[in-house]
Symmetry: C2
Subunit: 112 residues, 2 copies
């Protein structure tokens, strides 16, 4: 079960190629992403302080985050994410589709 | 040659492990990182809108960026970065030390 809410978070894709996808997510208070599964490892960077309310399918948890706070998560996570704050929030999500391509970028450095 | 400026940008490290380093950088107007070389591929996410003034060793360029705007760069880049705005700015930098570790995270998903 996910959240019962009809207010969707608004995704704005900034970049989407073979290597990465960068998306800004804007949430009104109470807005949700909807239930989803992460196919790739990803980073989240909070643009404003706020509380993410996470539904993992069986229970919810509130995660207060500061402006600029960032974290990495592995592929495979399934959840629904709500803005548990009383104000609009936004974060940037960076999904790494091809970690191998990143590795090649790093190796270019070593060999040059 | 880098910028001639004695006002340093302020780094605040959020996470630093074998896989990634996450740093928030705060710049007063005119503050600089100082000349540096990127040893790993990295992401930048702007927390506020502003102009990054980049010195590549021979010339400068101004890059206006929106709040939330994000980009990826490969390892090997060398430059000095100044806040070219008339207000304080901040961004989050995510350096990927071990893209292979990210790849393993992705593979965990495939095999689970």
């Amino acid at each position: 079960m996910a959240f019962t809410c009809s207010v969707p978070a608004i995704p704005t894709v900034q970049q989407d190629d073979d290597t990465i996808r960068i998306t800004r997510w804007d949430f009104e208070p109470g807005a949700v992403t909807g239930w989803h599964s992460h196919g790739w490892p990803y980073f989240v960077v909070m643009l404003v302080a706020g509380t993410l309310r996470i539904h993992d399918g069986t229970k919810t948890s509130d995660v207060p985050l500061a402006q600029g706070q960032a974290y990495m998560r592995p592929a495979g996570i399934e959840h629904d994410v709500m803005n548990g704050s009383d104000h609009p929030i936004a974060f940037v999500e960076i999904e790494v589709k091809q970690p191998g391509a990143l590795k090649e970028l790093a190796l270019e450095k070593v060999s040059s």
